[in-house]
Amino acid sequence: MGKINWYKYASPASFYGLAGKLIPGFATLSVVLFIIGLYISFFVAPTDAQQGEAYRIIFIHVPAAWMSMFIYVVMAAYSGIGLAFNTRLSAMMASSLAPTGALFAAIALFTGSFWGKPMWGAWWVWDARLTSQLILFFLYVGYISLQAAIDDPRRSDRASALIALVGVVNVPIIYFSVKWWNTLHQGASISFTKAPTMAYTMVAGMLIMAAACWMYTIAVALYRVRIIILERERHSVWVSELMEKIK
């Protein structure tokens, strides 16, 4: 492969083509990694001495929680670039990541609750991590609803970019305050930080699952950004030429 001309791909029209070529690769990688990761999680990793089989849910829970965090930061970075340099493509990338981020936040919440039932005997405990995860989910909801409420694409891009940046500045403050609140009210409770001593295969399984989630996120975000590009540029010449070809 020769040198990629990045300036060329910063235009939505050329990125549309590039994304189309990249999606199958990332999608395949993601499926392969999910199969390996799930195999390790369910068949190779040993049963935990304290928690039995139920602990296996962390192979989904932890990567999902990581992803929801990472995606928010990446989204804010794209938003910042979009606001600073007025590049349309970065705003489109930010908005194509948001639903996946919200999905992972929701998965982390549900799996956390399923793990909580056998561990603590309750579907929901106000553990610091779970509470922070819930608030992160709220931040995603705010971002997505603001974007949905604005019809003008330019205002929508710029307004949601701003709220993403405000959110990312606040995330550390929120996490810190929730932690403070939690230690004050519950003392030393069982927490996700005190996970069982992890066997080597457990770590491997978790990392492979995380990599699979990454690949999935990239593939889905690229797929979504292609749709956004088509929608935004539907009046342009290249889209009508493309539609002619499809016919």
């Binding site: 007025n86 019809d151 003008d152 694409p153 330019r154 935004r232 009046h235």
Partner: protein, 204 residues
């Protein structure tokens, strides 16, 4: 001097206009004409820096108008809306809008300006009891006291009676005579004497 090169404006996914060039020097009048919705107001708001151009740039005395404090000290923009508060009296409205625009006027000056524009005896009434035309006059009174060289006026004559229109016309001419600049949209046929008169015509 105000100069704009290759301006383009998008609203939603519609291209309102593109490749607009204009320049305006002392004593110059620029008339922007066209049917409703053709982009006149958007062009004016863009020239005020309220809308970022999709393409092109706008300069004042050779410097880009973005974050150019000197430009905003030199500019008076009057838009569609009157920009006056119903709860405040005519005189409070005038003094406050001037104060926000960066220059203070005393009670006496504000009083005189309102009197000259035909609001004698109504200076202290809350704006909510004034008629549409009278509210418009409160807004336009700012032009009597503002010493800014560049006026950008979007349909300033709406709701005014013939006397007031005549008064405004002579005010415009005086401003241009003194070396001011003016960008105007209006549906009325109005002959304004100016050193140079240019026109931009939009089609729908």
């Amino acid at each position: 001097m105000l100069e704009a090169r290759q301006l383009a404006c998008m609203r939603g996914d519609r291209l309102l206009f593109s490749e607009i060039d204009l320049h305006l020097e002392a004593g110059g009048l620029l008339h922007v004409r066209g049917p409703n919705g053709s982009g006149k107001s958007s062009l004016l708001r863009m020239l005020c820096g309220l809308i970022l151009p999709e393409a092109g740039d706008i300069t004042w005395q050779g410097q880009n108008i973005r974050k150019n404090e000197d430009y905003f000290r030199s500019l008076t923009y009057l838009g569609h809306q009157n920009g006056i508060k119903e709860e405040l009296s005519a005189i409070e409205n005038l003094r406050i809008t001037c104060g926000l625009a960066g220059f203070d006027i005393d009670e006496r000056t504000a009083f005189d300006a309102l009197e000259r524009i035909g609001l004698e005896g109504r200076e202290a009434l809350p704006a909510k009891v004034l008629s549409q035309g009278q509210r418009r006059r409160v807004m336009l009174a700012r032009l009597l006291v503002a010493e800014t060289p560049l006026w950008i006026l979007d349909e300033p004559l709406v709701a005014l009676d013939t006397d007031a229109i005549g008064f405004m016309r002579s005010l415009f001419e005086l401003h241009l005579e003194k070396g001011g600049m003016m960008i105007l949209t209006t549906h009325q046929e109005l002959e304004i004497a100016a050193l140079t008169t240019r026109e931009i015509r939009f089609n729908s």
